[in-house]
């Protein structure tokens, strides 16, 4: 596997984002006025973060990558 520093930097930034998100969502344990919309928006952010990680992380070279092609 050939290294490339922007990928590694992105992975590091993503790790920070995930740590910060975990920390921030811990505060939500005090939140009581839950609605489905609020839950959905929290879930959507988590999904977006997961997809970022899935795209940044390279696959094993055996077709196990993200499966997302360049749109342009």
């Amino acid at each position: 596997m050939r290294s490339y520093w922007p990928s590694l930097l992105w992975a590091g930034v993503l790790l920070l984002i995930f740590i910060q998100s975990w920390w921030a969502m811990f505060v939500l344990r005090h939140y009581t006025d839950w609605t489905f919309l609020a839950f959905a928006i929290v879930l959507l952010q988590t999904i977006a973060l997961y997809m970022m990680a899935a795209v940044v992380a390279a696959g094993d070279g055996g077709g196990g990558g993200s499966g997302l092609a360049d749109p342009l």
């Binding site: 596997m1 050939r2 290294s3 490339y4 922007p6 990928s7 590694l8 930097l9 992105w10 930034v13 993503l14 920070l16 984002i17 910060q20 998100s21 920390w23 921030a24 811990f26 505060v27 939500l28 005090h30 939140y31 919309l37 609020a38 928006i41 929290v42 959507l44 952010q45 977006a48 973060l49 997809m51 970022m52 795209v55 940044v56 390279a58 696959g59 094993d60 070279g61 990558g65 993200s66 997302l68 092609a69 360049d70 749109p71 342009l72």
Partner: protein, 164 residues
């Protein structure tokens, strides 16, 4: 596996999901806390950086007024943060008055320079403090920096090839 090829192939997806995450984060603040994360001012001072860091990591909530107590007791007088999540004002007073903050202060100094860029957008936001940080803003800045560096590198490589 060449990470460079992978990065070039997927970077638009990364930025796309990042954009979704940023929009979602702002909408989440509006829905959950009825407050916009847009700052009142973009002028940064040392105290605003520290306040942004403290607000983002301490999880202090305006509903209990504890973060104001924390600010009054520790911040304005000693410029030191409270790295605790106070659930009520009494806890805030007790902990702020008794906890040794040397370790927390060291941690703050180490982390603030690293993370402070992530919390800019929340630094002066009005209304209740949600405890939700703006790490994604930092990610955007980092992403823009990466993109610029990659573009510069590509241009340099292209001009090198042309000169050959």
């Amino acid at each position: 596996m060449d990470l460079r090829i992978h990065f070039e192939k997927h970077r638009r997806w990364v930025f796309g999901f990042l954009l979704i995450a940023v929009i979602t984060s702002v909408v989440k603040d509006v829905i959950l806390y009825d407050g916009s994360p847009i700052p009142r001012t973009w002028r940064f001072t040392r105290s605003s950086w520290c306040r942004a860091f403290q607000r983002s990591w301490c999880g202090l909530r305006d509903s209990t007024n504890s973060w104001r107590l924390c600010l009054r007791l520790r911040w304005e007088h000693t410029s030191r943060p409270c790295l605790h999540d106070f659930s009520n004002s009494a806890d805030a007073v007790r902990l702020c008055a008794t906890q040794p903050f040397a370790q927390a202060d060291r941690l703050r100094r180490r982390l603030s320079s690293l993370f402070s860029v992530c919390f800019v957008a929340r630094q002066t936001s009005p209304g209740s403090f949600s405890g939700l940080p703006r790490p994604l803003l930092g990610a955007i800045l980092a992403g823009v920096a990466v993109r610029r560096a990659v573009t510069r590198q590509s241009h340099a490589r292209s001009s090198l090839l042309l000169s050959d």
